[in-house]
Every structure is written in structure tokens, then in C-alpha cells.
């Protein structure tokens, strides 16, 4: 319109002025002027057939930005008016643009790229249009390349790069308003022919350059560009035959693509000259680290070649053998540059990942063994350089001086992958590795011992000059630290939820040598951690695995002795942590091994750590002593205390071990000491105290005679109760409740209750539940007393959360009801004290809403019984309480809905910005919708509305996890509506709205494949409920399609989608059929409606 109203010179003047405004510094123009200028360009780009004006602009204007906009206008208009344009004029337009760029080598880069982008878009749009031939472009480009003129060759490279980006499936594609299916089809055609042609052209250029002796700077820059282009081709994400959803998902992200070309590439890529070329190129340019990155990346891509390109296994073996030969020739005899390390590693990693084992072993023997040797050599030397680099990067003295925050992950977690590999290798080569680790450890222990003794003497001689050189100690600690980690990973696995087994390699290794082993000496080595292993006669005839363990016990013993000698300040808490971490891992697997779990068992193992052996009793005593000493010496080192108490839990969580633990006098002392809440145990952090309580409770379920058991509980649990009751039953408790010692007492009790709940197991739940229930009632009273002390209120709720979390699944009907009642009362008191209350504090952080989070957690835990229920009508309680008439009628639903009434009004949108609150909230409301859909329509109107609003918000603007939860909530709600058959209820109306939302999500938006099932189920149920509205949605969508072919395809697809379920009913079989059709539907037309 603008072009029609004004002549070309006026248009240019107007645009140039606007460009001036846009480019002006902010101080020179105001916002309004800027917006006006922007508007001028936008409407210019929308003008009809701007081709003549644009050509004129390109030829006459000197303003780069205007040139850029003209190129953009051409690109957009060509796509917009494609059908109306004559093919000849499109062709000439393309030629014009290309010539234009060729003739102006000094164009600004961004203008040139934009013009080439326009060319690429034209070629892409034309590639599906048989009436127009855009292929000539490759002919033109190859002519440019053969010109030998570096500038022209660079331009040719830019053209190819632009084409490649435009056709690739990544987000690089321009937004031209066509369907994903269009983009997919273009790509498929492109990758079969044009891409290969680009590759061939590139290979030719590279060949040419690799033959030349001396490259000047300009030529070498051209070389580099083509190498980068080759890399782009080899990193192409080849589109598999069937399109649809897969393609759309791929559009999102495609990183680290492995090379999987189609069959048509066979001749090109299996030609060994191609592979050789890239090795040659790398050898030539490897000193230029920028270029080397590209050449190595090309080789890494070639190393990942797989798929239909290989006609048979033989060709794969040939290719691999050839590749490895090339690789070895390149690597051997050269000094590898640091910059090459990553590239070479990824080449090898790709080879080993992609080529199957049987192919790898089918290459000639000699080649295979040189490859493995090379691999070993590289692993060692790269590992060493990486370690050195770390040291130099942080400065040599770093280990001693660097400030390490508590958030820094421990090495055992940070390097768990590497350690697991090292451990695995150690098991495979046990013969070599176990004795090696043992001797390294033993040697370091001896040195550590000597070093500490020297320090002690120094201190005794001159106690004042306390500054000792710690460098030597520090180095020893660092060595021992890693040796313990490696030993831990080698000897045992870290299992969760399953019984850890002794690794078979270790078992076999021990069995294999058991005939040479002297059992008594082995036991002696094990039982005398205070002595040097080599001082024991016959020490070489011991079981190596046990000797390795005893080496670590020796480290532990040196630590203990240093503590006794008042040298704690010289010790490394990190090493202390490593020791207990190792002992826990070891004890879980080896201590009191269950012989039934193994086909064969090593005699030394069963003699030393088997059931009913002196060895196991001794070692349990030793470990317990270590735990007790650590808890008092290291109470100020949180992590160490925490690892220590975990070791204690390991010792008592299995009945067999607990039976031995409780025979130690130390154990009883520990229990008594903890019950007294005296130093040093009361210095421990609250999580550690909780876990300690848990361990003490678990120990109480070990096998003992009734009298002993009675005595134990009298000493562990009863003091808790007595002290608590004494405090809260004082006459003036109300006045004293804020006194520090009273508060401390209350806090400690509540913490202990959490610990007790954590100790719940199926065989102790009856006792623990009854014990805890007494407290819960009293806790509710405390809620009232401490209503203005949020930290105490939170702790009280936390006790309920823990009890519900650990115990609800075991509770039978009447016990569960007791808990529901208690929870309901808790919520009522909370509600009474918080209604209308605003909290004013300077810092509004997430932790301020801890109470809300805890209540939601509590409600979720109560609901979880509907999913996980191990109770057998109070079977575990049988004998504890005679059948009690369950005539009270508090149900989980009552408690939860009461809680929801409380929570919903408080959950503002601001609060949903806190991720933990948000996730917990959605988890809760989804649970409620799934379990009590019938209660939803009964909610008060405003609560109902905010619940529905929350669901919509969750589906549209939260994380995909939350979205999934909301979709899962919809199905039961819709089913509820169908059951109720009320067509005017608010829920019914709400679900109609959700139908539209889910419809759009599935059909129109880029779809997250993880969500298909949840969305599909919700969709089907909603369709059943609102058939008329669904048909309407389909009609509206169809009527907006202009292309008759697409219209027909869509119409057919929609028909097919519901064919198996007409009329749709809430029948499981039909639903499954629908879900299957939906998959097909998405694959078939998903790409058609999703537009880019």
C-alpha cells in the first residue's frame, strides 16, 4: 500500500529517515519516534508485491539497514505471494539477488547474509514445487568454487551454509509460516540429493587445499570455512522416513547428533578416500587449534557412522578397521596437543559407543590390541594432564588455601561416574589392583603415623610455636582420601532399596586364593589395626580382600590414636568422613554376609565376617566405638557427624547386626547419654540427632529377652516421655513456655519424635504408632501455646508429617482414623490461630511459608494411603488393642478437604512462584481430584473457582511436570461429571472449557511427547462428555483451512480418530482404541497444524 501511494524515491527517503531514527542514540530520539520508525519498516515489509521497489532500493540506497530490510521484505513477500507469482519472475529474482551479492564483495556482512538467506528461502520454498527448477544454484556455486578466487570461494561457502541452515531441522529455519510437515518434506528431499552435492563440493575443496604446500592467510581462511561446512554436513540430523510428531520433537533440540545417513549416502561415505582426507586434513592443520577443532569434530562424526548405510556387518568391520588404522597413524609418534585431547577422546568414545562389541572384536587382532594399548595410554596421559591442569589452574597451593563452601559437592558424589568406572576396572583386574591398593594404603598409613608422631614431639618440645608445616600432612590426606574412595567403589556397590551383594569378581578372587591363605594370620591382621601389617609374621599369606579392609581400619586407628593424643586439630575431617563412608558401604555388603544369597562363598569371608563369628562381633564393637568417638570429637563437623550416624543406622537396620550391636556395653551407654541430652551429643545438628534417635529405636527391636527389652525402652524412650510430660504439665507452663531451657526441651523432644517416626518398619509400627499417638495429642496443645513462635509450630507440624509419611501405609482402619482425627484437630487449631493473620517480616522468603508447605505435605501423605496400603485390617496391631468399634467417622477426605479449604485461599499466584510450594500444591490438588472427585462439586463456590483456575494455570503456564499433573487431574473430574449427569453444574461448564484447552494443546501447539498419554486420556474423557462441543471445535478448525488437500487430509484424520469410538463412551476398550488412534493422528497431521 505504501509502495503504491509513493514513488520509489519517496519510499527510499522515508525508509532511510526511519533507519536514521532507529540507529540514533537513545538520547536523540524519544520512544514515540522510535515506534513510528519501527512501524514504517513493519508496514513496508507487509506491502504487496514490493519486488520492484526492493530491487530499486538495493541498487540505489547506501544505508545498510535499509538494504537489510529490503532483503527481508523480498523474502517474506516471496513466500506470501508464491502461488500468485510467475515462476519465471521468481527465478529471475533469485538470480538478481545472487548476482547482486557477487558484484558487491564489500557489502556489510549482515546485509549479505540476509540476502543469501532470502535466496535460501526461495530455494527451499521452490524445492517442493515441481514447476520451478532451483537446482541450477549448485551449478553456479561449483563454478564460483572453481574460480580459484578466495573472495568468490568464500561467498560460495556462505551460500551453501545459508542453504544448509535453512533446510536443517534445528531452530535455524526461518519463520515462514508453513507447516512442520512442509519443513520436514523439504528436509527429506534435501538430505537425499542436495546435501550430498554440498558435501562433494566441500570434499573437493578440502582435497585441493590439503594438496597445497603453502597456504597464505586468505587461503587458509577459505580452507577453514569449508572445513566448518564439512562439519556441518557431517553433523546433519538425518530425518527418518516417517514424519509427524517425531520430527516436531526433534525441532526442539538436536545436540550431539550421531551420523546416521540414509542408504543413498553409501557410495559417498564408505569411500575410504573420504575418511583418509579428513585424517590428512587434520595432520596438516593440527597446530592451528581453531581449525583442529573442526577437523577433529568431522572425524568424531565419521566415527559415529551407523545405520542403513552399512549393507552388512562385513562392511562395518572394514570401515571400523580402516578408521582405527587411520586414527592410530595420526596419533602414534606425535606429541598430542592439549587442544586435541577433547576431540580425540570424543572420536574414541563415539567409536566405542556406536560400533557393537562383535564388530570391534572382528577387526584384525594386531590392530585391535594396538587400539586397546593406545586407549590405555591415552586414558592415563589425558587423566594425568587433566589433574595437572586443575592444579595449575587453581595454583599449586590451592588445596590448602582455597575456601570451600558447604555447598561444594563431596568428591565421592562429584566424581561418582569416574569412581564407578575405576572401581569396575579394579574388579576386572582384581589380581593386580587389590594388592596395589593395599600396599599404597599401608605405606601411606605408616607415613601418616610417623608424620603425626613428629608433630607431637615438636609440640611437646615447644608448645608455643604451634605453627607446623602442614603441607606434608595435607598431601598424605589427599592421597588417602582418594585411595579410600577407590577402595570403596571397588569393594562394594551403593545400592538403594535392594540388598547389596559382594561383587562376584571379588568373591571369585578371594575363593581362588583361599587355598594359599592362612586364616589365623588373616584374622590377626584384621584384629590388630594398631600394628603395622608387615610386623605380623606370615603377613603375606593373608586374604587380600580382608587385608585391604584392614588397611583402612589401620587408617581409622591412626586417626583414633591422634585424637587420644590431642592432635585432633591436625587431622583431616575429610579423611574422617571418608573412613566412615567406606565402613558403612563395606558393612552393608560384607558384615554378617547372608550365605544363602551366594552360590559359593569365600572361606576367609565367612570365617571373618560370617554369622556367629568372633570376627564379626569384634568388628561391630570396633565400629561402634568409632561411631561414639566421632560423635563426640567431631560434633562440630556436620557432614562427618552425619556420615557417622549413617554408619550407626547401617549397623542396626538389619536385625542380625543389631543383635550383636546391643550386646556391646557402649551401645547402652550411648543410649543413656543421648536420653540425658547432655554434651557432647546435644551439640549435634538436628538432622544428626534425628538419625541418632532413629538408630537407637531400630536397635531396640533387636532380639533380647523381655526383661532386657523392658530395660532398654525404659532407658531410651521413657525418659523422653517423662521429661516432656514434666515440662508441659507444670502449672505455670504457659508463662514459662518461652524460656530458653523450656523451649530447648520442647524442641529436642519434637526432633526426637521425628527421629522415632523415621525408624518405622513394618514389624515395629504397632509399638511406635501407639507411642507417638500419645505425643500427638499433647503436640496439639503445644500448637496453642506456641502459636506465635513459628519455628516451633513448624516443628510440631513436621512431627505429624513424619508420622503420616512413615506410618499411614501400615495402619488399619481404626488406627488410621485415630491419625486422621489428630490431624484434623491439628488443622483446626492451626486454622483458628492463623485465620486473617498477616505476617509482617522484613524478609519474605520461601521459608516463611514453611508451614504451608508442611501442611500440604501432610495432606499429601495422608492421601498416599489410597495408593500404597500395606495394612491388613490392623493385623500388625493384633494383640495390642482388642477390636475397637470403629464408629467414629473421620475419613481421609474430611481431613484433606478441611486442609484444602485452609490452603487454597492462601496459595496466591505469588506463592506459586516458589518452586517447591508450587510442585507440592499441584501434587496435592491432583491427588484430591483423583481420589475424591465426588467432593469437588461440593466445594464452596469461590474455592471451586480457584481450584479450576489453578488447574488452568498449571496447564498453560507452569513446568511440564505440573502440566502433566493437571492433565491427570482432568480425567477423574470429567468422569465424575459423566456420572453425575448434571449438565448445568459448574464442574460441567468448567470441563467444557478444559476440552478446548486440551484440544489446542494436542492439535495446535508444539507438543511434548511425554505428555501424550496424560493429555490423550483427559482429552478422550472430555470428548465423551462434550461431544457436540468437540464436533464444533473440529468444524471450526476445518473451516479455517484454505487448501482443499489439507482440508481433506485433516477431515479424514479426524474421522479416523473417532472411528473406533463412535459414539464415544467411557469404556476402557474404546478409550484404549482412541489413544492408539490419537498416536496415529499426531503422527499423520501433527506436523500439518503446527506452523513455523
Amino acid at each position: 500500500m505504501m509502495a503504491a501511494a509513493l514513488g520509489p524515491p519517496e519510499v527510499i527517503a522515508q525508509l532511510e529517515n526511519a533507519a536514521k531514527v532507529l540507529m540514533a542514540p537513545p538520547s536523540m530520539v524519544n520512544n514515540e519516534q522510535r515506534q513510528h520508525a519501527e512501524h514504517i519498516f513493519l508496514s513496508f515489509r507487509k506491502s504487496k508485491s514490493p519486488f520492484a521497489v526492493c530491487k530499486h532500493i538495493l541498487e540505489t540506497s547506501k544505508v545498510d539497514y535499509v538494504l537489510f530490510q529490503a532483503a527481508t521484505a523480498i523474502m517474506e513477500a516471496v513466500v506470501r505471494e508464491w502461488i500468485l507469482l510467475e515462476k519465471g519472475s521468481i527465478e529471475s529474482l533469485r538470480t538478481f539477488l545472487l548476482t547482486y551479492v557477487l558484484q558487491r564483495p564489500n557489502l556489510q556482512k549482515y546485509v549479505r547474509e540476509q540476502i543469501l538467506l532470502a535466496v535460501a528461502v526461495i530455494v527451499k520454498r521452490g524445492s517442493l514445487d515441481k514447476s520451478i527448477d532451483c537446482k541450477s544454484i549448485f551449478h553456479e556455486v561449483s563454478q564460483l568454487i572453481s574460480s580459484g578466487n578466495p573472495t568468490v570461494q568464500t561467498l560460495a561457502c556462505s551460500i551453501l551454509t545459508a542453504l544448509l541452515s535453512e533446510f536443517s531441522s534445528s531452530s535455524k529455519t526461518s519463520n515462514i509460516g508453513l507447516s512442520m510437515e512442509f519443513h520436514g518434506n523439504c528436509k527429506r528431499i534435501f538430505q537425499e540429493e542436495d546435501l550430498r552435492q554440498i558435501f562433494m563440493l566441500t570434499v573437493e575443496v578440502l582435497q585441493e587445499f590439503s594438496r597445497r604446500e603453502n597456504l597464505n592467510a586468505q587461503m587458509s581462511s577459505v580452507f577453514q570455512r569449508y572445513l566448518a561446512l564439512a562439519n556441518q554436513v557431517l553433523s546433519w540430523n538425518f530425518l527418518p522416513p516417517n514424519l509427524g510428531r517425531h520430527y516436531i520433537a526433534m525441532f526442539e533440540s538436536s545436540q550431539n547428533v550421531m551420523l546416521k545417513p540414509t542408504e543413498s549416502w553409501r557410495e559417498t561415505l564408505l569411500d575410504s578416500r573420504v575418511m583418509e582426507l579428513f585424517f590428512t586434513v587434520h595432520r596438516k592443520i593440527r597446530e592451528d587449534s581453531d581449525m583442529a577443532q573442526d577437523s577433529l569434530q568431522c572425524l568424531a562424526q565419521l566415527a559415529s557412522l551407523h545405520g542403513p548405510i552399512f549393507p552388512d556387518e562385513g562392511s562395518q568391520v572394514d570401515y571400523l578397521a580402516h578408521f582405527i588404522e587411520g586414527l592410530l597413524n595420526t596419533i602414534n609418534g606425535i606429541e598430542i596437543e592439549d587442544s586435541e585431547a577433547v576431540g580425540i577422546s570424543s572420536i574414541i568414545s563415539n567409536l566405542i559407543t556406536v560400533f557393537p562389541r562383535n564388530v570391534l572384536t572382528a577387526i584384525p587382532n594386531e590392530l585391535f590390541s594396538s587400539f586397546v594399548n593406545c586407549l590405555t595410554h591415552l586414558t592415563c596421559s589425558f587423566g594425568r594432564s587433566a589433574a595437572l591442569e586443575e592444579v595449575t589452574a587453581n595454583g599449586v597451593a590451592s588445596r590448602e588455601e582455597e575456601e570451600i563452601s558447604e555447598l561444594q559437592e563431596d568428591d565421592r558424589d562429584q566424581f561418582s561416574d569416574q569412581l564407578a568406572s575405576v572401581g569396575m576396572l579394579g574388579r576386572i583386574a582384581a589380581e593386580h589392583c587389590i594388592p596395589l591398593l593395599t600396599s599404597l594404603l599401608e605405606e601411606r598409613v605408616t607415613r601418616l603415623h610417623g608424620q603425626l608422631q613428629r608433630h607431637q614431639q615438636q609440640l611437646l618440645a615447644s608448645p608455643v610455636s604451634g605453627t607446623v608445616d602442614n603441607k606434608m600432612l595435607d598431601d598424605l590426606y589427599e592421597d588417602i582420601h582418594w585411595l579410600i574412595l577407590v577402595t570403596g567403589y571397588l569393594l562394594a556397590d551403593d545400592t538403594q532399596g535392594e540388598t547389596p551383594l559382594i561383587p562376584p569378581e571379588i568373591m571369585e578372587y578371594s575363593i581362588k586364593h583361599s587355598s594359599e591363605v592362612d586364616i589365623n594370620t588373616t584374622l590377626q591382621i584384621l584384629g590388630s589395626p594398631g600394628e603395622k601389617a608387615s610386623s605380623i609374621p606370615g603377613y603375606n599369606r593373608t586374604d587380600s580382600v580382608i587385608r585391604l579392609l584392614s588397611a583402612i581400619l589401620r587408617v581409622s586407628e591412626v586417626e583414633s590414636r591422634a585424637i587420644r593424643a590431642d592432635l585432633t586439630h591436625l587431622l583431616s575431617p575429610q579423611m574422617g568422613k571418608d573412613i566412615v563412608w567406606f565402613l558403612k558401604r563395606w558393612a552393608k555388603t560384607y558384615l554378617l554376609v547372608d550365605e544363602k544369597l551366594y552360590d559359593q562363598i569365600s572361606l576367609p569371608f565367612s570365617t571373618a565376617f560370617g554369622a556367629d563369628t568372633e570376627g564379626s562381633q569384634w568388628i561391630i564393637g570396633y565400629l561402634l566405638q568409632k561411631v561414639i568417638s566421632n560423635l563426640s570429637v567431631w560434633s562440630s563437623e556436620q557432614d562427618l557427624a552425619s556420615d557417622t550416624v549413617q554408619l550407626l543406622v547401617t549397623l542396626v537396620e538389619r536385625r542380625e547386626r543389631a543383635n550383636l550391636v546391643i550386646q556391646c556395653e557402649n551401645w547402652w551407654n550411648l543410649a543413656k547419654q543421648f536420653a540425658r541430652r547432655s554434651p557432647p551429643l546435644n551439640f549435634l545438628s538436628s538432622p544428626v540427632q534425628r538419625t541418632l534417635m532413629k538408630a537407637l529405636v531400630l536397635g531396640g527391636f533387636a532380639h533380647m529377652d523381655t526383661e532386657t527389652k523392658q530395660q532398654y525402652w525404659t532407658e531410651v524412650l521413657q525418659p523422653l516421655q517423662q521429661r516432656f510430660l514434666r515440662v508441659i504439665n507444670q502449672d505455670n507452663f504457659q508463662q514459662m513456655c518461652q524460656q530458653e531451657e523450656v523451649k530447648q526441651e520442647i524442641t529436642a523432644t519434637l526432633e526426637a519424635l521425628c527421629g522415632i517416626a523415621e525408624a518405622t518398619q513394618i514389624d515395629n509400627v504397632a509399638i511406635l504408632f501407639n507411642f507417638l499417638m500419645d505425643f500427638l495429642t499433647n503436640c496439639i496443645g503445644l500448637m496453642e501455646v506456641y502459636k506465635n513462635t513459628p519455628e516451633t509450630v513448624n516443628l510440631i507440624i513436621e512431627v505429624f508429617v513424619e508420622v503420616a509419611h512413615k506410618q499411614i501405609c501400615y495402619l488399619g482402619e481404626s488406627k488410621a482414623m485415630n491419625l486422621y482425627e489428630a490431624c484434623l484437630t491439628l488443622l483446626q487449631v492451626y486454622s483458628k490461630n492463623n485465620l486473617g493473620r498477616q505476617r509482617i517480616d522484613v524478609t519474605a522468603e520461601e521459608e516463611q511459608y514453611q508451614d504451608l508447605l508442611l501442611i500440604m505435605e501432610l495432606l499429601t501423605n495422608l492421601l498416599s494411603k489410597e495408593f500404597i496400603d500395606f495394612s491388613d485390617t490392623d493385623e500388625v496391631f493384633r494383640g495390642h488393642e482388642p477390636g475397637q468399634a470403629a464408629n467414629r467417622s473421620v475419613s481421609a477426605a474430611d481431613v484433606v478437604l478441611y486442609g484444602v479449604n485452609l490452603i487454597l485461599p492462601l496459595m496466591s499466584q505469588d506463592l506459586l512462584k516458589f518452586p517447591t510450594l508450587c510442585n507440592q500444591y499441584y501434587k496435592l490438588i491432583t491427588f484430591i481430584c483423583e481420589i475424591f472427585p465426588e467432593k469437588i462439586p461440593q466445594l464452596p463456590e469461590d474455592l471451586f473457582k480457584s481450584l479450576m483456575y489453578s488447574l488452568e494455570l498449571g496447564m498453560t503456564s507452569m513446568s511440564s511436570e505440573v502440566c502433566q499433573l493437571c492433565l491427570e487431574a482432568l480425567t477423574p473430574l470429567a468422569e465424575q461429571c459423566a456420572k453425575a449427569q448434571e449438565t448445568d453444574s459448574p464442574l460441567f461448564l468448567a470441563t467444557r472449557h478444559f476440552l478446548k484447552l486440551v484440544f489446542d494443546m494436542l492439535v495446535l501447539q508444539k507438543h511434548n511427547t511425554e505428555m501424550t498419554t496424560a493429555a490423550g486420556e483427559a482429552f478422550y474423557t472430555l470428548v465423551c462428555l462434550h461431544q457436540a462441543e468437540y464436533s464444533e471445535l473440529v468444524e471450526t478448525l476445518l473451516s479455517s483451512q484454505q487448501d482443499p488437500v489439507i482440508y481433506q487430509r485433516l477431515a479424514d484424520a479426524f474421522n479416523k480418530l473417532t472411528a473406533s469410538s463412535t459414539p464415544p463412551t467411557l469404556d476402557r476398550k474404546q478409550k484404549m482404541a482412541f489413544l492408539k488412534s490419537l498416536e496415529e493422528f499426531m503422527a499423520n497431521v501433527g506436523g500439518l497444524l503446527c506452523v513455523k
Binding site: S398, R399, E400, E401, E402, E403, I404, S405, E406, L473, D474, Y477, E478, H481, H569, S572, P573, Q574, M575, S635, S636, E637, Q638, N682, F683, L684, S685, Q735, Q738, Q739, E740, N788, T789, E791, L835, G836, R837, Q838, R839, I840, D841, V842, T843
Partner: protein
Amino acid sequence: MEDEIDFTTGDAGAFGTNPMQCSALRTNGFVVLKGPPSKIVEMSTSKTGKHGHAKVHLVGIDIFMVKKYEDICPSTHKMDAPNIKRIDYQTGEVCEDLKLPEGELGKDIEGKYDCSHKALQINGIMRHEQTVQVWINCRSK
């Protein structure tokens, strides 16, 4: 509110400080940092070098002057924790001579002062009294 103020008991024994191991301190608790008692608002630990011993970093806000204090000390060190006596008041009954804190909190209390049905919470610390927290209760609205 049912909390009462007892003006008659001097209760001097409840004031003062007692030593606590650094690692046993908690956020939101109170500690004496370089003079005045402070509420701990931030607490973190670190160590010097991988094999170093833990140190505790404390950030506290002086409850009288609303001034920030920081300290770093080995986690085994003992620090003085003030004994706290906490009394809840309702605004209607707050005496005029009650010292309001400076800064935001003080203004907040002043701003809400004329509205009834509110409760103020006051902690008496080390023979001083200080308002540390305000609850507004608008239940009757």
C-alpha cells in the same frame, strides 16, 4: 490475646548469656556478635582447603540498632548466646516507654498502632527489651 505481662518478678536470673558451641547455633536464633545480641539471619559453613576444619560464618542483625554484624569462627568455638525471655503483648496494652526498633519494623509497628486487635511480641534480651516481631490479627474485621 491471653498472654500476660508480669511486671512484678524481676527475674534477673533469666537474663545474661551462656556459651554455645558454634555449630549448635541456628538461623533465627540469637547470639552475641561483637557486643549487642543479634538475631542470626544467615549461617553457613566453609572450610579452608579440602582437609581443613569447618568454620561458621554468621550474619546477625543487632536487635536494638538493626545493624548488621558478621563473624567467622571455627565451628568448635563457644559463642555467647543470650538468654531470652519473650513476652507477648497486645497493642492496646503496650506501654509508651516500650522501645520500638529503628528502620522498617519500627515504622511498621507505628503504622499499625492505632488499629485495635493486634498483638505485639516483645523479647527481653540481656536486660533490654525489644520488639522483634509483629503479628497483626485482623480476625475481628
